[in-house]
């Protein structure tokens, strides 16, 4: 039996801590944004690299035009391409400027973080599978312009399948999320782009599946422990479902079929359920959810039994007194 005790009304210490720290950031002395050792310039670059200005024009990286009065606030080539003036004053080949797209993940992330310090950027420095595999920003983003949102090289899911080819195959299975149909995007579930939890499927601690399937989100008066983890880390929803794709209906990992119903018996081996003399032959092949209806969580029974069984006096009265 669960231990019963009062739930204290607690203040949220992590939130308060974070608020204080954000205020501290505003008060702290900032470092001036500058190119790494090079004077900020663009005009001299375009003398040789003509055409680059027009490729950047439709992006937030666009260079200031001659008539612009906000040149200091806009991008300069040397903000990303660090180097020194010998590149354009002396020998360009002997003094190459840095090309961030050819840098490693950590090096390019450091350059991009000069401006981009959003959750996704922060995550590249925390636990991120892409940075751990040395996949740099330019592997996904085309900084000099793209017709796709966020300057992605290609739209999802094609962008992701470029490396995760084995996952593409899973989405060919009969029961799957509609990713190939353009209805669900990889990044809608893999919030690892903006979050750091292991498995990258948790959004501020909340199970990411509930972003769409809110009807299965707690609290229920009686929770199914398999989903009680509030995230998919401890498998949670993934105990029973394979979101990428399955050969079984409802994207189930194991068959929900008699006589053994492996989906349920993978965890539950319940006495008297295999050969129940009281239910006689009617028991044979009867699916578990014929009685245990509200398997994601119930407000009626801690065995997730259906209300109709209660009205027929099967439980709480009659044979099954709980």
């Amino acid at each position: 039996m669960p231990v019963s005790h009062e739930i204290p009304r607690r203040s949220p210490p992590p939130l308060l801590t974070a608020c204080v720290l954000v205020v501290a950031v505003l008060a702290a002395p900032g470092r001036a944004f500058s190119a790494q050792g090079a004077p900020r310039t663009s005009e001299v670059c375009l003398d040789c690299h003509d055409g680059q200005a027009s490729s950047l024009a439709a992006t937030a990286h666009r260079l200031p035009d001659a008539a612009s009065d906000d040149a200091a606030a806009r991008m300069a080539c040397t903000d990303c391409h660090a180097g020194d003036r010998r590149h354009w004053e002396d020998d360009p080949k002997a003094n190459p400027m840095i090309n961030p797209s050819r840098a490693g993940a950590a090096d390019e992330a450091r350059i991009c973080s000069g401006c981009h310090q959003n959750a996704h950027q922060q995550n590249m420095l925390e636990r991120n599978a892409h940075s751990a595999s040395d996949v740099n920003c330019s592997a996904c983003h085309s900084v000099h312009g793209s017709k796709h949102p966020a300057l992605l090289r290609e739209a999802e899911p094609r962008l992701c399948f470029g490396c995760h080819g084995n996952i593409e195959g899973q989405f060919a299975r009969p029961y799957r999320h509609p990713v190939n149909d353009g209805i669900v995007k990889c990044s809608e579930c893999h919030t690892g782009l903006a979050e750091t939890r292991r498995g990258a499927l948790s959004l501020d601690g909340t199970n990411v599946c509930m972003k769409c399937h809110a009807e299965f989100q707690g609290p229920f008066r009686y929770e199914h422990p398999a989903t009680l983890d509030y995230s998919t880390e401890g498998t949670g929803c993934l105990s029973c479902h394979d979101p990428h794709g399955s050969a079984l209906p409802r994207m189930l990992r194991l068959p929900f079929e008699g006589p053994n119903f492996p989906l349920c018996t993978q965890c539950h081996s319940v006495p008297r359920h295999e050969s129940n003399t009281m239910h006689g032959t009617r028991w044979s092949g009867m699916p578990c959810n014929a009685c245990h209806t509200d398997i994601h969580g119930s407000n009626v029974s801690h065995f997730f039994l259906s209300e109709s069984l209660e009205s027929r006096s099967c439980f709480n009265a009659g044979c099954h007194k709980f």
């Binding site: 974070a18 937030a60 310090q117 959750a119 925390e126 989100q217 609290p219 008066r221």
Partner: protein
């Protein structure tokens, strides 16, 4: 009426931009008109790819994009305007200042052979992002997901006690304020959700989460960066009055002593206070990772320890991972990873008790000549629950190749074999999945682009299912800006164990497309 209004709006926009000589910038777009012809037999519920197909005339796409001023960028993309599979996306962006987005998507799920039993989803979304100053970014978004239609009992033939219809909606919203200054940055977000079910009020739920994050270098040692996150939220079942509260705190410290060596320490503490179970669940995780990067690759290793205490049981888990990669320019790249995790149930009170899991993956890719890439991969996963006698194993072996040459086209193929086995006390379950995909794109013929591809899936052993998807498509340039596009898809599905689970469909889609591009100058 809705379709007519949208079309009128688009025509007005195009006309305005096209005839006006007083704007500076450019406009480009594509209009596609055509039709879809579907010939099918069997149970369409078996092939998801055809759920959203509607027979008949179609305003397939109106796509407009351009620059005005030229600092204002906009995009309008509308698909299947006159059909129930319609989608739309609008974007307005003034780079570095403002971004507005809106979207709509409608699709259906089919449950019965005659398409008479189905459910429909509608997704509305809108968002705004304002860069108020170089150091301040404000953003907000709103989503509404609605689902109406038939609900089918599972397994087929049983009577569902959950009802026979869907009529629910989920509304979510989020606002974020983000600041940054030099190497310091942070943000505060508020997220809210509201789920309502018109047919079952006990399902109604609300949620609110406030979160914050911070990114700052150490004051005394600038090669050490602190990253912090915190969140606090409440989820509530409105009808029952139950709630659970969730507090989460994360700290990551990254030390980069040299460009080659990076050390990371991560801590995560979380409490879930669940009023329904009257339990408080506390979880603490500690992770330490080191990565050494050299010009031709990297080596990494890490260790983690976590505890989970839910007032009833105490479990702890140790995890470790290691990996290395090697590359030689674009000619060769190889990567191997291993990760393992052992969870111990300290008091043997949980249902599953101890759990051991591991994962090994390896990948090799070579580029013998500039146009050709060949590769192979292997993944092995195991999960063992010795106390309840359950073991699961999974292997994936795949090989792939891609050839492409500018002006000629591309050829690609991928073949994989996946085996999954489950052994439990009640029985075993084994499947072996063979998957082959191939695709060819031809660019060599003047005014004609051709593509074709096949996906073939064979799921065997305890199941016996075959599925194939074939497509051939071509686009022929008729004259300035006009194209004739045709696409043929064939879908096949056969379940050799379950009767009446077969499906075959031939789908032809024909469109006439018009591409335009105009450029305006300031008067």
């Amino acid at each position: 009426m809705r379709t007519g209004s949208l079309a009128a709006l688009v025509v007005t926009l195009v006309g305005t931009f096209a005839v006006s000589a007083s704007w500076a910038g450019m406009l480009e777009g594509t209009v596609r008109l055509g039709g879809i012809f579907v010939d099918e037999e069997g149970a369409p519920s078996t092939v998801q790819e055809t759920y959203n197909l509607y027979d008949g005339f179609s305003v397939s796409q109106i796509h407009l994009g351009g620059l005005v001023d030229p600092r204002n960028y906009f995009l309008i993309d509308l698909r299947d305007l006159n059909l129930d599979s319609r989608q739309g996306e609008l974007v307005y962006r003034r780079p570095g200042v403002l971004k507005l987005t809106a979207g709509y998507d409608r699709h259906r799920q089919v449950f019965s052979p005659d398409r008479g039993v189905d459910a429909r989803r509608e997704d509305w979304k809108a968002g705004a992002e304002v860069t108020a100053a170089r150091w301040l970014n404000l953003s907000g978004s709103f989503n509404q997901l609605g689902r109406v239609g038939d609900r089918l009992a599972y397994p087929a033939g049983s009577v569902s006690l959950l009802g026979s219809e869907y009529d629910n909606s989920l509304k979510t919203g989020e606002v974020t304020a983000e600041v940054r200054r030099g190497r310091h940055g942070g943000a505060i977000s508020y997220r809210t959700s509201l789920y309502t079910d018109e047919l079952n009020a006990t399902s109604d739920r609300t949620g609110q989460v406030v979160s914050a994050r911070l990114y700052t270098p150490c004051k005394f040692y600038d090669k050490w960066t602190h990253l912090l996150r915190g969140a606090y939220g409440v989820h509530k079942a409105t009808d029952g009055g139950l709630d659970y509260k969730l507090a989460d705190f994360q700290y990551t410290g990254v030390i980069q002593t040299t460009p080659a060596l990076q050390l990371k320490y991560g801590f995560n503490g979380r409490r879930v206070d669940d009023e329904s179970t009257r339990l408080k669940t506390d979880r603490f995780c500690n992770d330490l990772d080191a990565t050494y990067t050299y010009p031709n690759g990297h080596v990494s290793a890490g260790y983690g320890y976590e505890t989970n205490d839910d007032d009833r049981s105490l479990t702890s888990a140790q995890s470790w991972r290691t990996g290395t990669s090697y590359h030689r320019g674009k000619i060769l790249s190889a990567k191997v990873d291993y990760a393992g995790r052992v969870k111990k149930d300290q008091e043997e009170l949980t249902l599953l008790k101890d759990v051991e899991a591991s994962r090994v993956s390896a990948r090799l890719q070579v580029r013998p000549v500039a146009d050709l890439v060949l590769g192979a991969g292997y993944v092995k996963r195991t999960r063992d629950l010795p106390d309840i006698g359950v073991q699961t194993d999974g292997d994936i072996v795949n090989a792939f190749g891609r050839w492409s040459r500018s002006g000629w086209g591309a050829l690609s193929g991928d073949y994989s074999v996946t085996t999954d086995s489950y052994t439990g006390r009640a029985g075993d379950f084994d499947t072996r999945t063979l998957l082959a995909t191939g695709r060819a794109d031809v660019e060599r013929i003047r005014n004609l682009r051709l593509s074709g591809g096949v996906t073939w899936l064979d799921i065997g052993r305890d199941l016996d299912i075959e599925k194939s998807l074939v497509f051939v498509e071509g686009a022929y340039s008729l004259f300035a800006g006009y194209r004739l596009e045709a696409k043929y898809n064939a879908y096949n599905y056969d379940d050799y164990i379950l009767l009446n689970r077969y499906y075959t469909a031939n789908v032809v889609q024909i469109n006439v497309a018009y591409d335009f591009h105009t450029k305006g100058e300031t008067k």
